[in-house]
């Protein structure tokens, strides 16, 4: 029993860390632009496929391919926001959120049009897992953990120490005041879209590294990503990390009492619970 819990905790922490990367993207976009951008799902997929192209077609190692995933998904994010979502923002939050859902369906089908529906796996050596003290840990899991933690540290460093990072936090905190102080909101919007969707792209690739990818990769995880952001506090970046770890561990630990088929329900239950008891989320909505 104890071994079982230990194994589930490890699996949950790894899943949670991977989930945290796109969750940071989601919550950062929310913090600056104030709408839930569900098109993150398809950017996850775009990143996964961009990484696939780099890894399989050009023979790049996984760590290099992750950078390609970041850049391509980030650029796609900026482009899609400029062309589709930005013109709709004056029409209200709900309209923009619905447009983002529509956008994600369109983009997902663009990916399907180019790559087809079949399942693709990254070109990685398949290794047997390590067994340590009765617990099973995969080499790829450890690598993914490393990439995810690295990406998160980079985000925190960027927000804390760079001028643009500070500008982003200023806009998230008080857009009017930031505008008066001369921070260009359009520039910050483009930047947060690039970084947020880029992180989603990394997340998509990390998800795919351990399994396989297809045009629905992003769609499958978007609920967990959304749940992580809500649980941690929409708009709070450390909150997204806490929320992601909570959801990741919670989904795994639920297996002690639930059949695996009901695992997806954990995300919904967490959203429900948090919105009822603490609507601002665990860490509230302070951006940083």
């Amino acid at each position: 029993m104890l071994g079982e819990v230990g194994q589930l905790l490890i699996n949950g922490l790894v899943a949670g860390t991977i989930l945290a990367v796109p969750a940071i993207g989601f919550t950062a976009i929310y913090a600056v632009l104030r709408f839930p951008n569900f098109s993150l799902a398809s950017h996850l997929t775009i990143g996964a496929f961009a990484g696939y192209a780099a890894n399989v077609s050009w023979g790049w190692p996984a760590t290099g391919a992750v950078l390609v995933a970041f850049v391509v998904a980030g650029l796609a994010g900026v482009l899609n926001d400029e062309l589709v979502l930005k013109p709709l923002r004056p029409a209200g939050v709900l309209t923009t959120a619905i447009a983002a859902v529509a956008l994600t369906i369109v983009l997902e089908n663009v990916v399907r049009f180019v790559w087809g529906n079949e399942l693709r796996g990254y070109d990685l050596p398949i290794q047997r897992d390590w067994h340590v003290a009765g617990l099973r840990i995969g080499a790829q899991q450890v690598k993914n953990l490393g990439i995810a933690v690295g990406a998160m540290l980079a985000v925190f460093a960027f927000l804390a120490w760079t001028r643009t990072g500070k500008a982003m936090r200023a806009v998230a905190d008080n857009p009017t005041l930031a505008d008066i102080k001369g921070v260009d909101p359009d520039r910050v919007a483009r930047l947060v879209n690039f970084a947020g969707m880029g992180l989603a792209g990394i997340g998509g690739m990390l998800v795919g590294l351990d399994t396989s990818i297809d045009p629905l990769t992003g769609f499958r995880v978007i609920l967990s990503v959304f749940a992580a952001a809500v649980v941690g506090g929409l708009g709070s970046i450390p909150g997204a990390v806490v929320g992601a770890l909570t959801i990741g561990v919670g989904e795994e630990l639920s297996l002690l009492v639930l059949a695996p088929a009901y695992r997806t329900a954990v995300g919904f239950a967490a959203i429900l619970l948090v919105l009822t008891l603490r609507p601002r989320g665990i860490l509230g909505e302070r951006a940083y």
């Binding site: 699996n11 399942l119 398949i126 399994t211 499958r220 695996p260 088929a261 695992r263 997806t264």
Partner: protein
């Protein structure tokens, strides 16, 4: 340009004449007239690669029957339509076959959705329907006996799979099943077979196939120390499961159905992961003379199961009409089909040979190119051969056929 006008009088006269002709007893109309049968196969759409050989197999059977003098002297006329793998198009085509061509039987529907749409038209017009669709629900339709299918359903396939596992002397089986309508029925059926044979189902998990990782499910399976894991899902999730089982250090047996562990599955994983995995899939009676004759006639040594099944559809329908002394109606086919498909009669594997024996007043039992072709009351086949293969160095090799 002169205008042809249809006066009300001519219209009425000709309509009355036509109605009168139709009102004549069927027997009188059909004297020496050809027997009409319809084929409804997917020549285009998702099933488009299967339909053409299916139709050719039926055309070949009819050609042979006609060359040998037809059914009790009556030639057989085949009317072929395309169902476009689309229920809507299939219904239009079936209406034409039933109302205009007045066929006794429609043969060869492939997609389950198409069969489900066409079946009510058939039983309402008392037209016989033969299909290769596999969905369990099809034979549960209220078809009043006007339908048979030659594709095995879940119950039959899993039963054979259980027999195979017992044959392998497997003792502890774990089932990892995707969440599908067939997950629970196949689990229960397998448990029944294993328990009866002295083995055990040590556990089963139904997983959400849209999850990105199945580590916890794998852990759950491995804790029960199985010597065989049955992966009852589709290609995407079975691929991930096979990979994760390997990573987890599992070295026992694995088995999956042929449509899940297919060529694409082999291609997407390295051989060290796929080696040793067993697959099960329905197969035609490859050793039978019926199969070999058809393969030679169609110029292929690897016929797909549907083509063989369609060969049997046409043969069965011709023989049933022969048994009904030439009465070419759907009801006659329904009432006589099981009298030529099963029972103690002389075994035959071709329509021509069967018709000859029927003419001599002998009883026959048709065994086809697809299998024994014996049917239950509800129209399912009683038995079917399942071929078991094992992956070796990235290729499948036949292990046995049950």
């Amino acid at each position: 340009m002169s205008e042809t006008r249809l006066s009300r009088r001519t219209l009425l006269t000709s309509a009355a004449a036509a109605a009168g002709a139709l009102a004549l007893p069927a027997r009188a109309r059909a004297q020496g007239a050809p027997v009409r049968l319809g084929t409804l196969t997917p020549l285009t759409g998702a099933g488009g690669s299967y339909g053409p050989p299916m139709r050719r197999a039926m055309e070949w059977v009819v050609g042979e029957v006609n060359a040998a003098g037809g059914i009790l002297g009556r030639q057989v006329e085949l009317v072929s339509e395309d169902d476009q793998t689309n229920p809507e198009a299939a219904v239009r085509a079936a209406r034409k076959l039933i109302d205009v061509d007045r066929v006794a039987a429609i043969m060869g529907t492939w997609a389950s959705a198409v069969t489900t749409a066409v079946a009510p038209l058939c039983w309402e017009s008392k037209t016989f329907l033969t299909t290769v669709s596999g969905s369990d629900s099809i034979t549960q339709l209220p078809h009043q006996g006007y339908l048979i299918r030659t594709q095995p359903n879940t119950h039959l396939q899993i039963g054979k799979l259980g027999d195979f596992l017992l044959w392998l002397k497997v003792k502890r089986v774990f089932v990892l099943g995707a969440q599908t309508p067939f997950a629970l029925p196949s689990q229960n059926r397998l448990r029944e077979i294993l328990t009866k044979g002295g083995s055990e189902m040590v556990g089963a998990v139904i997983y959400d196939k849209d999850k990105t990782t199945f580590r916890s499910e794998i852990d759950q399976a491995l804790r029960t120390k199985p010597d065989m894991v049955y992966l009852n899902g589709y290609t995407p999730d079975v691929t991930v499961l096979a990979k994760e089982l390997y990573k987890a250090g599992y070295t026992g047996g694995r088995i999956a159905l042929g449509y899940a562990a297919n060529a694409k599955f082999l291609a997407s994983l390295p051989a060290e992961v796929t080696d040793g995995i067993y697959t099960a899939q329905p197969t035609s009676a490859l050793e039978s003379t019926g199969y070999r004759r058809l393969a030679k006639a169609l110029g292929s040594d690897d016929l797909d199961p549907y083509t063989c099944q369609c060969h049997d559809h046409a043969s069965l329908v011709c023989l049933a009409i022969g048994h009904a002394r030439g009465e070419a109606t759907g009801t006659a086919v329904r009432d006589h089909l099981r009298r030529i498909s099963q029972g103690p009669g002389v075994k035959v594997d071709s329509a021509v040979e069967g018709l000859k024996l029927l003419a001599q007043g002998k009883a026959i039992n048709y065994e086809g190119a697809s299998g024994p072709c014996d049917f239950t009351e509800s129209g399912d086949i009683l038995d079917c051969k399942i071929r078991f293969e094992q992956a070796e160095k990235g290729k499948f090799k036949v292990v046995t056929t049950l």
